[in-house]
């Protein structure tokens, strides 16, 4: 592949903290290699800002290999940028050409308040999991791992749902800022497995209640979440969540629901 260098104009959201008003700031970056990752381009810009005595741009990132779910930029209007099934950290600069302008914003949602610049607070996701995204089994209680065979198809589907990295792109992409894809991925993962069966009613009820309490919007089946999800989490999961919720309601709800 041919390598090349490029000069770019960046329009980046700056916001001092949660309570401050934000604004776009324009930067020029020069000699960016097509080999760089998008975040390495930001590293270059930040080093440049530090050298100029200015404050670098805050952004979340950690593993830089697409699995931890920490990176979260909204690039030219798209969560994690233009590449399909790709997180921001795996987007590479060969996507762009000399002279391009790139607009970078934080993930936007009321339930994801901005902490600083491009960094948002996604702790609502932890609280949705706390509401029921688990199987209640204390350490030491388990039976032999092969005691309960699970159909390969179900195990594979459970895995596909469990591949969610909790990045929040689904929320950022959704016009309603709904976190239903995230919530349904966990409900599906556990509902597909026999181990998850005893708590299936209470789980779906409590997780949805918490989802709404956090201020995430309702799902209106637009599908932008699936389109932007870096891990290809399917809308099927939302359909399954709806079935689980309906079934829980028919069962008269769980005796244990809060």
């Amino acid at each position: 592949m041919e390598h090349y260098n490029m000069n770019l104009t960046l329009k980046v959201w700056r916001q001092k903290n949660k309570n401050a008003a934000g604004h776009f700031e324009t930067f020029q970056v020069k000699n960016i290699s097509s080999e760089m990752s998008f975040l390495e381009m930001f590293d270059v810009l930040n080093e440049q800002l530090i050298a100029e005595g200015k404050e670098p741009i805050a952004f979340d990132h950690d593993c830089r290999e697409g699995i931890c779910g920490m990176c979260s930029m909204h690039i030219n209007g798209r969560a994690h940028g233009p590449w399909h099934h790709t997180t921001t950290c795996q987007l590479h600069m060969r996507e762009y050409k000399d002279g391009d302008t790139i607009v970078v914003e934080p993930f936007r949602a009321n339930a994801f308040p901005v902490i600083k610049d491009l960094v948002v607070d996604r702790s609502g996701f932890d609280r949705i999991i706390q509401a029921g995204g688990y199987i209640s089994v204390n350490t030491g209680n388990a039976v032999d791992a092969n005691a309960l065979p699970i159909e390969k198809h179900d195990a594979d589907e459970a895995f596909a749902a469990a591949a969610c990295i909790g990045c929040g792109a689904c929320v950022a992409a959704c016009p309603n800022a709904s976190a239903m894809l995230f919530t349904s991925a966990k409900v599906s993962h556990l509902a597909l497995l026999p181990q998850g069966d005893p708590e299936r009613s209470i789980r779906v009820e409590n997780m949805i209640r918490q989802h709404d309490k956090e201020g995430f919007g309702g799902c209106t089946n637009i599908g932008a979440c699936e389109a932007e999800c870096p891990k290809g989490i399917s809308l099927e999961n939302i359909a399954r969540l709806n079935r689980e919720y309906l079934a829980a309601t028919f069962r008269g709800g769980s005796k244990n629901s809060i």
Partner: protein, 658 residues
Amino acid sequence: MTLNSKIPAGQIDAKWTTYKSTCKLVNPANKRQLEVIVIGTGLAGASAAASLGELGYKVKTFCFQDSPRRAHSIAAQGGINAAKNYQNDGDSTYRLFYDTIKGGDYRAREGNVHRLAEVSANIIDQCVAQGVPFAREYGGLLSNRSFGGTQVQRTFYAAGQTGQQLLIGAYQALERQVALGNVTQYSRHEMLEVVMVDGKARGIIARNLVTGELERHFGHAVLLCSGGYGNVFYLSTNAMGSNVTAAWKAHKKGAYFGNPCFTQIHPTCIPVSGDHQSKLTLMSESLRNDGRIWVPKKQGDNRKPNDIPEEERDYYLERRYPAFGNLVPRDVASRAAKERCDAGYGVGASKQAVYLDYASAIERYGKVEANKLGLENPSKEKITELGKGVVEAKYGNLFEMYEKITGENPYEVPMRIYPAVHYTMGGLWVDYELQTTVPGLYALGEANFSDHGANRLGASALMQGLADGYFVIPYTLGNYLADDIRTKSIPTDHPAFVAAEKEVSDRINKLMSIKGTESVESFHKRLGKIMWDKCGMARNEKGLKEAIEEIKALRKEFWSNVRIPGDINEFNPELDKANRVADFLELGELMCIDALNRNESCGGHFREEYQTEDGEALRQDDKYMYVAAWEYKGESQYELHKEELNYEVVHPTQRSYK
């Protein structure tokens, strides 16, 4: 102080059972009064915190990421070992124990490793009960695969995302305890000091990374589950935030550091593409099952790989190690790649890479598929097409990742790979109970030194992290806390907390007041280059001595010329980074001191002066069969304590893969 490893007496397979039957217990009412601090929420930390919360202890967890689920255990690809013997292929607790001791080049402690093998099977049971979706066969039972350094199939996996699935399992167990009120979770917090009261660890000072405020937290015990320190090399497969800070603070408060120079360099990573490189990405060890590694026979050959005819390629692993070929252990494969590149046979623009070629695997699989389909005289194109389909099914996600990063299609052109820092076997010295040399201070998972000796086998890191957290610490911590039930919570206005907080705050103020001209990142890069060049895959006396001086000078320069923008009392990632790099600048020196002390080659530690005529690692069992545990005595001053390793069961031999 003499090191007491506290290995229980008795036969190797009875030690842990004896310990569990005789250790002290804490009754449920007392557990509710006992507070435990857990630093780090990866496999070790999340599993420990969840299990201790279930038992009724009052637990606090701390992680620097925005959620416990992001800890770097999440990036582990290949799998987790367990001696289940589901494949009926001769596996047993003893064999897993033996393979791990041998793989570690006889520098690990037998008692700990046997316990690890014993609890390995319980880990798989626990994870399945939590809903971890391991790969399964059509009959509904669990699937296994092979990994390096073993002759049985004992690796459980979830596609190429095993670490992610195990961590999510532990995270969910942890969040359940948070919901129940047994665990309080502090995200975006970094531990910056251990608080000592009457010679025991009694709490921490943590910085809230959002507000910049320092916080005091009391605990009857403190568990460090903060991972490894591979980022001392700047470039590694670790996450950007992975750091040594928690472990280093503990070290400076009296916890000995064990075998700091034992570093694992993984042979198959995507090579560095330029000075902008911020981290390296691993390509799973499983790729060596089918790929063939080669370089051109001619030095400085600039032809494209597909233009180099078969007879002009050097499949150097197959040539040097006919018995194991491309499947030699990680340390051996890494050194062989370096040897070829240093000799001028490297490929790609940087010449610091070798080829990992799937062409012959594609052809082989294609022919098998054609036979299956009953195709007579299939065309070369048809065979290639069928073969690519098979390779895609087995390794598709890895090939896709390679293409995203390099822009090259590995189905058409051989992948370029090079070794990279991946894991640190060294860490805080712990006894059998996982307690450091500081009473009440424990180290679990990659943060301790205990189970992998001088080289870790693939799929054993996940096993160790979860063994420590789910099945070891719940017993050993109780044995310590049983004597502590009368200790009331110490108020955090105690002078020890005040003094520790002042120490942290003075240091941060000092960092911020330097106002120099060079960024933290640039110092980190320079440190990484010294470490990689002189304390990396091959080390020698001269280089290590130079490195020690260079690191000292760099540290001095850092403390007089670093530039940290922003303020203390705000979200300031540059300050967070500066705190971490300052600690790496001290650790790097100790690693070189340790490497210089160890006049032998073993596992990942290769001293050029100690090699066989064929260039293989040469151990010196008569002189160095010990754990080097270093005590901090002040800046640049470390005292060596030796824990002799006694092999009662396994008899050390020279490893050979020819």
